[in-house]
């Protein structure tokens, strides 16, 4: 975190938005599911899941499957960690994720996911957030997750199959 970022929050948010948008664009599965960047700040990231046929879990009533919501929340949580770390960069694979489906979503309506990294330790990032359709105060699903912080060099060693 540099002094200029803190001095100019608007510029900081622009950089975070660019970071998230660029990163999301490289994640094939998220793009194929219909995820689009919405908003990013140090305090949290919002990603949209555009409604489409591929995410439907019940073709008879059009309700979305839990799987795409899980993918959306996992993705949004990872981006929230990246924003918290910026301009430092770590590879942050998901350690664990718990999702609670609070109510039945409205069929045919986009999802929005909000995630915040509320604690960053030297090894682990702690994230919480929710998926909603119109009102963040009335979430469809909530989640908590942890992500492992791997330095770039370390992660390259681990990356080899």
């Amino acid at each position: 975190m540099t002094a200029t970022d803190a001095a100019d929050p608007a510029e900081d948010n622009r950089r975070l938005s660019k970071l998230c948008e660029r990163f999301l664009g490289t994640v094939r599965h998220s793009i194929e599911l219909g995820m689009r960047f919405e908003n990013a700040t140090r305090d949290g990231v919002t990603i949209r899941l555009v409604h489409n046929d591929n995410i439907v879990g019940n073709p008879w009533n059009g309700v979305v499957h839990g799987g795409p919501v899980l993918a959306l929340l996992d993705q949004t949580g990872g981006l929230a960690v990246a924003c918290k770390l910026y301009p430092h960069v770590d590879i942050t694979p998901t350690l664990d994720l718990r999702i609670d489906h609070l109510r039945r979503p409205d069929p045919g309506v986009d999802f929005l996911a909000f995630a915040e990294c509320y604690r960053l330790s030297s090894n682990v990032a702690f994230v919480r957030g929710c998926a909603y359709q119109s009102d963040r105060a009335d979430p469809v699903s909530t989640f908590v997750a942890t992500y492992m912080r791997l330095g770039l060099n370390k992660s390259m060693v681990r990356a080899r199959p």
């Binding site: 994640v27 094939r28 599965h29 008879w60 993918a71 718990r98 990356a159």
Partner: protein
Amino acid sequence: MTVSSRLIDVIAACRRIGNFDPLVDAIPYAKFLGMRCDIGYDGTVQFRLPVKQENIGNPTLPALHGGAIGGFMEHAAIIHLLATMDTPRMPKTVDLSIDYLRAGHYRDCHASCTVTRQGRRVANVMISCWQEDPAEPIAQARAHFLLAEPDSAVTCTRQ
């Protein structure tokens, strides 16, 4: 014929022929993932997620998206419940907790499910997902599913 009876028909047909691929193909998200069902030597349903470019999350490794692995495991549990229940009732996911243990390389995934407890309204399922060796899972999950009443299989379910 009502809309809800069509879902029950698909489930009944799958159980009759002992192959749950028609149920996968009837669910757009499961079809998008490309998951398949095989019948094991012991007659239980085995789940497979063949490699597919659209499921990649990290293009440089390449690795599968954690969401694709989780979605595959969640749907495997749903089909497992539908395949083993006396009276099939559409499960809706209440919660799911997943531990990612190893990187999901760009290879086929397999999943197996164990029903830890099935009550009248709620089922608890453990799901294990592996690639090369069942003893080295890449992810493990447990989930609770609410089981809808048979005559309301569609109207009050999430799935």
